[in-house]
C-alpha cells in the first residue's frame, strides 16, 4: 500500500492533476461525439506524449481511456447513437427514458453507475495486479506463447462477425508486425526490397491509420447522416441515494461482470456491457421493461463498460498482455517510452505502475465531477460541425505520424492503413483482433523461438509444462467452441422442425 500512497502524493502535484483532468475531459468529449472514438484520441495523442514526462504521459492516456468509455453515454442517451461501441446497450434504455422527458435522470443513473463501477474495478486492480505479476515472473517462453495464443483465440471468438473472420484479422495483424530485421539472425525479411521497411512498420502510424484515419473515412462517407436530438438543458444529472440503494445489487453484479470480462485478455467493454445487460434482464422480475427506458438497463450497461477499464489494466500491467484494443495502444505507449511491458515492470518501474493505478482512481473521480457538472455543455459539443472537425483531425494524424521519425514513409503508412482499416470494417473484418495480433506478434514469435532453442527444437514443453498446457487446452476449447455451438444450434433447429 506504501507504493500507492507515494504515487498518490506524486500525482497530487499541479501537472499530474492537470494532465489527468485534461485527459479525462478530452476523453469524455471524444467519447461523446459520434464518429470520434477513445482509440482515435489515444492513438492521436501518442506522438504528443513522446515529448512529455513518462508518468504524466501515461496517466493522461489512462484518463483519456476512462473519459472516453464514460462519454459514450451522452450521445447514447440523447441521440440514440452510441458515442463509443461500449455504449450500444445504453441506447436501449437511455434513449427511451430521455425521450419520455427524463434525460437528466437517464444521464444521472449512467454517470453514477460508471463512477461506482470504476471504484469497484480499481479495488480489483490494486488487489490483483501485484500477485498476478509475481506469478507471471515465473512464466517461461512457452507460457508466454500459449498465453498470447489464448488471447488471440479469445478475442477472435467474441469479436463481432464470424469466428474465422476474427482469426483472419488477428493473423493479418501478426503478419503486419513481421517485416524488418529478424531479432535472432539480424537478417531482413518481408521488406520487398524497400529500405524504409528495414526497421519494420512503426506501431504508431499503423495504429493512427487503422483507428483514426479509417474512422475519418467512414465519417466522411456517412456525413449526411442526421440524428434526432434531445435537449438536456435545465435538468440535473445526478443519481440519488435512493437510486443507489435500489440499484445496489445490480451495480455490484454488473461491476463484477465488467471487471472480470476486462481482465480476460483480448475482450473489451462491449462484451462486458452486453453480458451485464443480459444478466440483469434474465434475473429481473420485470424483464419485459428492458428496452423501454428501464433504470436497471442503463445501470447494468454503464457499470459494466466502465468496470472493464480497470479490469483490462490488470493483464496489461501484470502480464504485458492487453486486456482490450485500447490497452493494446497503451502497450504501444509503454514501448514508445522505452519501457518493457510485462511483470518486470513492477521491478524496473514500480513508481510508474502505482501511478497508473492511482491515476485510474483520480480519473474516475474527475469523470464523475466533469460529467455531473458539465454534461449539458458537453451535449452542446455534439453540434460541433464535423465538416471542420474531420479535416483538423486528419491533419493531426498526418503531422503526428511525420513527427515520430521525421520521414514521409510514416505518413504513407498512416494513409495506407487508414484505407486498409476502412476496407476491413466495410468487409465485416473486425479491427480488434488485428491490433491485438499486431502488438502481440513479436512477443509470441520471440517466446516460441527462444523456447524451441532452449528445448532443442522440441514442442513437448507446450504440453508438459502445467501452465502452458492449461493455456493451450483453453485455446483449443475456445477455438472449437464456435463450431460446437453451431453444430448444437443446427441439431436443435432440426429437432424443432421434426416435432409435430
Amino acid at each position: 500500500m506504501g507504493g500507492h500512497l507515494e504515487a498518490l502524493g506524486h500525482l497530487s502535484g499541479f501537472w499530474p492533476l492537470f494532465y489527468i483532468f485534461l485527459g479525462t475531459a478530452l476523453g469524455i468529449i471524444f467519447g461523446a461525439i459520434p464518429g470520434l472514438t477513445g482509440a482515435m484520441l489515444i492513438a492521436l495523442s501518442l506522438p504528443l506524449t513522446f515529448y512529455m514526462d513518462t508518468i504524466n504521459a501515461l496517466v493522461m492516456l489512462i484518463s483519456m481511456y476512462v473519459g472516453a468509455i464514460s462519454g459514450g453515454l451522452i450521445t447514447a442517451t440523447l441521440f440514440r447513437m452510441p458515442g463509443t461501441p461500449a455504449s450500444v446497450m445504453t441506447t436501449f434504455d437511455g434513449y427511451p427514458m430521455a425521450r419520455a422527458g427524463n434525460p437528466g435522470r437517464a444521464l444521472g443513473l449512467g454517470i453514477g453507475a460508471s463512477f461506482f463501477a470504476g471504484i469497484v474495478s480499481w479495488i480489483f486492480l490494486v488487489l490483483l495486479t501485484e500477485p498476478l505479476s509475481d506469478i507471471a515472473v515465473r512464466f517461461g517462453p512457452f507460457e508466454y506463447f500459449t498465453l498470447v495464443l489464448m488471447a488471440l483465440v479469445l478475442i477472435a471468438s467474441v469479436s463481432k462477425g464470424e469466428f474465422l473472420v476474427g482469426l483472419l484479422s488477428g493473423f493479418l495483424g501478426m503478419l503486419v508486425a513481421m517485416p524488418g530485421y529478424d531479432q535472432s539472425t539480424g537478417g531482413l525479411r518481408l521488406t520487398f526490397g524497400f529500405h524504409e521497411l528495414d526497421a519494420g512498420l512503426s506501431l504508431l502510424p499503423v495504429l493512427i491509420g487503422v483507428f483514426a484515419v479509417s474512422q475519418i473515412i467512414a465519417d466522411i462517407v456517412e456525413i449526411d447522416r442526421k440524428a434526432e436530438r434531445i435537449d438536456v438543458r435545465g435538468q440535473r444529472a445526478l443519481m440519488s441515494l435512493r437510486d443507489l440503494g435500489r440499484q445496489f445489487i445490480n451495480l455490484v453484479r454488473s461491476s463484477l461482470i465488467g471487471t472480470w470480462v476486462g481482465i480476460l485478455p483480448g475482450i473489451g467493454a462491449v462484451i462486458g456491457s452486453v453480458l451485464a445487460y443480459s444478466t440483469a434482464k434474465n434475473l429481473s422480475k420485470t424483464p419485459e421493461k428492458f428496452g423501454t427506458g428501464f433504470e436497471d438497463g442503463i445501470v447494468a450497461s454503464e457499470a459494466a463498460n466502465n468496470a472493464t477499464v480497470g479490469g483490462a489494466l490488470v493483464p496489461l500491467i501484470a502480464l504485458g498482455i492487453p486486456g482490450s484494443v485500447i490497452d493494446a495502444i497503451l502497450l504501444g505507449a509503454l514501448i514508445i517510452h522505452s519501457l518493457q511491458p510485462g511483470p518486470m515492470l513492477f521491478v524496473s518501474n514500480p513508481d510508474l505502475v502505482y501511478a497508473m493505478m492511482m491515476a485510474f482512481l483520480i480519473a474516475n473521480i474527475f469523470m464523475f465531477l466533469v460529467m455531473t457538472g458539465a454534461v449539458k455543455y458537453i451535449a452542446m459539443m455534439m453540434y460541433a460541425p464535423k465538416t471542420y472537425l474531420l479535416p483538423i483531425i486528419l491533419l493531426f494524424c498526418i503531422v503526428g505520424a511525420f513527427a515520430l521519425n521525421n520521414r514521409m514513409f510514416d505518413v504513407v503508412v498512416v494513409l495506407s492503413f487508414g484505407v486498409i482499416g476502412y476496407a476491413m470494417e466495410r468487409s465485416g473484418i473486425p479491427l480488434g483482433p488485428f491490433v491485438i495480433g499486431l502488438v502481440l506478434a513479436p512477443i509470441a514469435e520471440t517466446a516460441l523461438r527462444s523456447g524451441l532453442m532452449a528445448s532443442d527444437g522440441s514442442f513437448w514443453p507446450l504440453v508438459t509444462r502445467p501452465i502452458s498446457c492449461t493455456f493451450l487446452v483453453v485455446s483449443i476449447l475456445l477455438f472449437l467452441w464456435p463450431f460446437l455451438r453451431e453444430f448444437l444450434d443446427r441439431r436443435k433447429a432440426g429437432a424443432t422442425i421434426e416435432e409435430p
Binding site: 504528443l48 515529448y51 474465422l164 473472420v165 482469426l167 483472419l168 493473423f171 493479418l172 501478426m174 503478419l175 513481421m178 529478424d182 535472432s184 539472425t185 537478417g187 531482413l188 525479411r189 518481408l190 521488406t191 520487398f192 473515412i217 466522411i220 462517407v221 456517412e222 456525413i223 449526411d224 447522416r225 442526421k226 464535423k386 465538416t387 471542420y388 474531420l390 479535416p391 483538423i392 486528419l394 491533419l395 493531426f396 498526418i398 503531422v399 511525420f402 513527427a403 521525421n406 514521409m408 505518413v411 504513407v412 494513409l415 484505407v419 476496407a423 476491413m424 466495410r426 468487409s427 465485416g428 473484418i429 514469435e445 516460441l448 523461438r449 524451441l452 532453442m453 532443442d456 527444437g457
Partner: protein
C-alpha cells in the same frame, strides 16, 4: 442477411488478401535460413501466417460468394438507409490528401502553405462549397496551418518541411 454490396466488398477484399498472402509467403522465404542452434528460423512464422491468411481468406470469399447468389437485389422501401453514403466525397478527400502530402513531401510548397491550401479545400468540399462557409473554412485553415506549424516546430521542436 448481408447486402449484396457488403458481400461484393468482402469477396473483393478477400481476393486481395489472398494475393498479398501469396506474395508474403514467397518474400518471407527469401529470409536467412535457420541455423543449427535455432530450429525454426526467421521465415517459419511469417510463412505460417501467410498460409493461414490464404486459407481463411479463401473460406471467407467462398462463403461470401455462396451467399451472394442467394441474396435478392435490394428493393426500395423501409430497409433503405436514411442517408446516402458519400463515397464520392471520400474519394475526393483522399485525392486532396495525397496531393497535400506530395506538395510538402516533395518540397514543392512549405508545410504551412500546403496545410492552409489543403484545409481550405477539404473544409469547402465537406461543406459542399456553400458561400457562407468559405470565410470560416479559410479562417480554420490559416489558424490550424500556422498554429500546428508553431506547435510542432517551437514547442515540440520537431522539424517540418
Amino acid at each position: 442477411m448481408a447486402s449484396r454490396s457488403f458481400l461484393a466488398f468482402r469477396i473483393g477484399f478477400g481476393a486481395v488478401l489472398m494475393i498479398v498472402a501469396a506474395f508474403a509467403y514467397f518474400e518471407a522465404g527469401k529470409a536467412v535460413p535457420p541455423t543449427s542452434y535455432e530450429p525454426l528460423g526467421p521465415a517459419a512464422v511469417p510463412q505460417g501466417l501467410a498460409v493461414l491468411i490464404l486459407i481463411l481468406s479463401a473460406i471467407m470469399v467462398a462463403r461470401a460468394a455462396r451467399e451472394y447468389g442467394r441474396v435478392k437485389s435490394a428493393t426500395r422501401g423501409g430497409d433503405a438507409p436514411a442517408y446516402q453514403p458519400r463515397y464520392d466525397l471520400a474519394a475526393i478527400a483522399a485525392a486532396l490528401t495525397v496531393i497535400y502530402v506530395l506538395l510538402f513531401g516533395l518540397h514543392i510548397m512549405s508545410f504551412r502553405w500546403a496545410t492552409v491550401l489543403f484545409l481550405t479545400a477539404l473544409c469547402m468540399l465537406l461543406n459542399r462549397f456553400r458561400p457562407r462557409q468559405i470565410p470560416i473554412s479559410l479562417a480554420v485553415a490559416v489558424a490550424f496551418g500556422f498554429g500546428i506549424h508553431y506547435l510542432f516546430t517551437r514547442v515540440f521542436v520537431v522539424g517540418l518541411p
